[in-house]
Subunit: 239 residues, 2 copies
Amino acid sequence: MPRFFIDTEPSEYITVTGGDARHIGYSLRMKKGDSITFCRMGTDYFCTITEMSEDTVTCRIDRAEPSKCEPSVSLTLYQAFPKQDKFEQIIQKTVELGAARIVPFLSKRCVSRPSEKDFAKKLERFRKISEEAAKQSGRGIIPEVAPLMTFEQALEDMKSCELRLICYENGGKRLSELGLPEYKSIGVMIGSEGGFDRSEAERAADSGAVPVWLGERILRCETCPVAVSAVIMNLTGNM
Amino acid sequence: MPRFFIDTEPSEYITVTGGDARHIGYSLRMKKGDSITFCRMGTDYFCTITEMSEDTVTCRIDRAEPSKCEPSVSLTLYQAFPKQDKFEQIIQKTVELGAARIVPFLSKRCVSRPSEKDFAKKLERFRKISEEAAKQSGRGIIPEVAPLMTFEQALEDMKSCELRLICYENGGKRLSELGLPEYKSIGVMIGSEGGFDRSEAERAADSGAVPVWLGERILRCETCPVAVSAVIMNLTGNM
């Protein structure tokens, strides 16, 4: 069933205008009486279309339920910014897999180093990719893509997570050894093309992040967050 | 350390010619006395370069060891053939993650349906992608990309695996419930863009494949094999 996201809490009816309304009427060719789902902050609103005009669609809310597609764990991905197309792949795949938030940051070995201003211009596109992936995979939220941070800002931001991890190819614990189901929120720091510098890995460990090791095979920077998200969702009973 | 694959079992020395030799001399700028690793069928040969000419590199084998990068489980991915660029992504990522073999086949909902002959032309390119991913991730083998099969041929081929699975969005067991560490070889069937038709899922189950469910969120066909490979490697102690 088609899913759309809304911004404000609805009461009895949901009225959609603009691009989404045209998408419902023209692309999906939906009509009065059809079923449609709207989502807002983890709640699914199951609706019936009651009125349609050229650019407005009105829907009656039949029932509202917590979205069963949202994982029980809140996973934030702190991703050292790779080349743009790789970052876009990472957003798409990790949103499908259940990430709650994606925070890009600059580490020493990042090759692509956009200024804050240049990054801000791209943020709208990144957020669109998150929204599309959320719709397509049936999520109950649109995971936020945060503005670009420094390494220190990312470490500080990660303090809001109950469990903090950093993927480090030179060794650490396995994901299975961490008792993941105990935690409600997990933050994982993942390197860009060249991985992390030793001083960064040490700094993250000092700030409370547990080094995690993903085995003998070297993963590309865009494979690592997808693999880590899948394994965390599996180990926490969400896949 | 740079890794190269060789075709025949070496004795005391390894001699490399052609593209690999030029890659060693020109691109990597390696020289006499440098260390280099060769792999063949799960064995790593740790070598020292002893002679170099324009297009030949000779290396002394210092020691040979079973490749520690090879997972303890042999994972074969039976992938319903998606659009070509997605299949290439799937090869690259699942080889990094440890798949032993990738078998493409045609299912009812495959959109891209190359003839056997057209597929055969692309096979060399697919195998090159597997080789590159194997080198880059440090594998001890080059995982085979098999010729295109029919659904029935794929089911028959999968009988060589101790445990047989089919990912099916309409329900099944979770990967964590299957006692994966008991098995030495696992085959997983994964759908293309539209997933599997119900009759195909039933046919696979009849032939002994356990339906597997990956949770509430709908994964793209190129995300699913990457997620499944990562979770299987984790659950079998290989990640």
